[in-house]
């Protein structure tokens, strides 16, 4: 199946721009062309990896590098059967999964400042977002992954199934449980009430 029909919010104009960026890069593998491609996609990839890594910036930076190395190796064979952003997210996901298998999860507690450094975490509305970021960070891995992919990144259960190697039904049940855990952990805070979510 084609991945990316509903995810990442890219428009046809974005896809045309992506095709132009990729063609530009592949035509000569020029550094400036790569930097333009990077500028277009790295911010979203980075925050995705940062959340997957539970806010560990060094880990997210390392995974971002691995993602771009793999992408640069494989871009020539990318067939545009999915959006470029989705393809890159898939690479990022696999890079993280392999790193996770190789060295296991890093369970060291995170300093609070690593969460405060997340975008949009200052001010009163920012506090609510910070509560939500903290709760996301503290979700068990499987719940966090499915919830991030579905509720934050906009992937469908079918797409998540392909990315994670699970059935769409499993994705749905993981999501449902993850939401329940998140809601329970946020009860009493402003993080998920929406009261302070508006800027």
């Amino acid at each position: 199946m084609t991945i990316g029909a509903a995810s990442t919010g890219a428009s046809p104009a974005d896809e045309a721009s992506d095709r132009e960026l990729v063609a530009d890069f592949l035509s000569g593998r020029d550094e400036a062309a790569f930097r333009r491609l990077y500028a277009a996609h790295a911010p979203r990839l980075f925050l995705f990896l940062l959340r997957l890594s539970g806010g560990r910036r060094a880990e997210a930076e390392e995974l971002l590098q691995e993602t771009w190395i793999r992408a640069a190796e494989r871009l020539g064979s990318f067939r545009w059967e999915s959006k470029l952003a989705t393809w890159l997210h898939g690479i990022a996901w696999n890079a993280r999964r392999e790193a996770f298998r190789a060295r296991g999860p890093i369970e060291a507690p995170l300093p609070e400042e690593s969460m405060a450094a997340l975008p949009g975490s200052s001010g009163s509305a920012g506090e609510a977002r910070l509560d939500l970021e903290r709760a996301l960070r503290d979700l068990p891995g499987g719940y966090r992954e499915v919830l991030l992919l579905h509720d934050v990144e906009g992937y469908t259960h079918e797409e998540i199934g392909i990315l994670l190697g699970i059935s769409p039904g499993t994705s749905k049940s993981q999501l449902s449980r993850g939401r329940a855990v998140l809601r329970r952990r946020l009860s009493g805070s402003a993080g998920l009430t929406g009261k302070e979510a508006a800027p």
Binding site: D30, F34, P119, G194, A198
Partner: protein, 192 residues
């Protein structure tokens, strides 16, 4: 939508939607990735890279984005997509600005300049200027113009950047050192 089946309520959905989707990685990460790609033979050096390096020769005492301005013109020429939307980042004084001591001024100038250079390397930076402190406010053609006094919404400078989307522009603005010094940044799409 009910708690029972795990779906979000509208308020919960809104809270999730308010989460950021983008954050610009540190600039040194971009350089590290570029070097890694070059080491693997996946990238060739750019022919126009010398132009950015020349920026370092610009006197540090020159106001913060004059150096970036030269870079920005070059960046604009090689912007990723000519049709990319542009955004104005208006640097406002903010309600609790952290003033630079004279000895710190050069360091702060270099910091803003380095930030602009990073944008330029990514083809995002179009132009920017620091504004002088003096100025006047006009409300009608017949007015002489009131001297402005410091206020939170006083404009201290501006950047014009190209970005993929409003969210992208916000992500870029969040990395601007101005925020760390108590300033406020107003991000506005440029019409047309």
């Amino acid at each position: 939508m009910s708690e029972h089946d795990g779906d979000w309520t509208d308020a919960e959905r809104k809270a999730l939607d308010a989460l950021s989707r983008e954050e610009s990685p540190p600039w040194e990460v971009e350089d590290r990735i570029v070097h890694a790609l070059r080491r693997r033979g996946l990238l060739r050096p750019s022919s126009d890279r010398r132009g950015w390096l020349a920026l370092g020769a610009v006197a540090a005492g020159i106001l913060l984005v004059l150096a970036g301005y030269a870079a920005g013109r070059s960046a604009a020429r090689r912007a990723p997509t000519p049709s990319s939307p542009r955004f104005a980042l208006l640097l406002l004084r903010g309600s609790e600005p952290i003033a630079a001591q004279p000895a710190e001024e050069a360091g702060r100038v270099a910091e803003y300049r380095e930030w602009a250079r990073g944008l330029a390397r990514g083809g995002r930076f179009v132009e920017g200027e620091k504004l002088e402190d003096r100025g006047a406010r006009l409300r009608s053609p017949s007015e002489a113009g009131d001297a402005t006094s410091p206020s939170a919404d006083e404009v201290r400078g501006f950047f014009v950047i190209s970005a993929r989307s409003f969210e992208d522009a916000l992500a870029v603005a969040r990395g601007c050192p101005h925020l760390r010094y108590g300033g406020t940044i107003l991000v506005r799409p440029i019409a047309g």
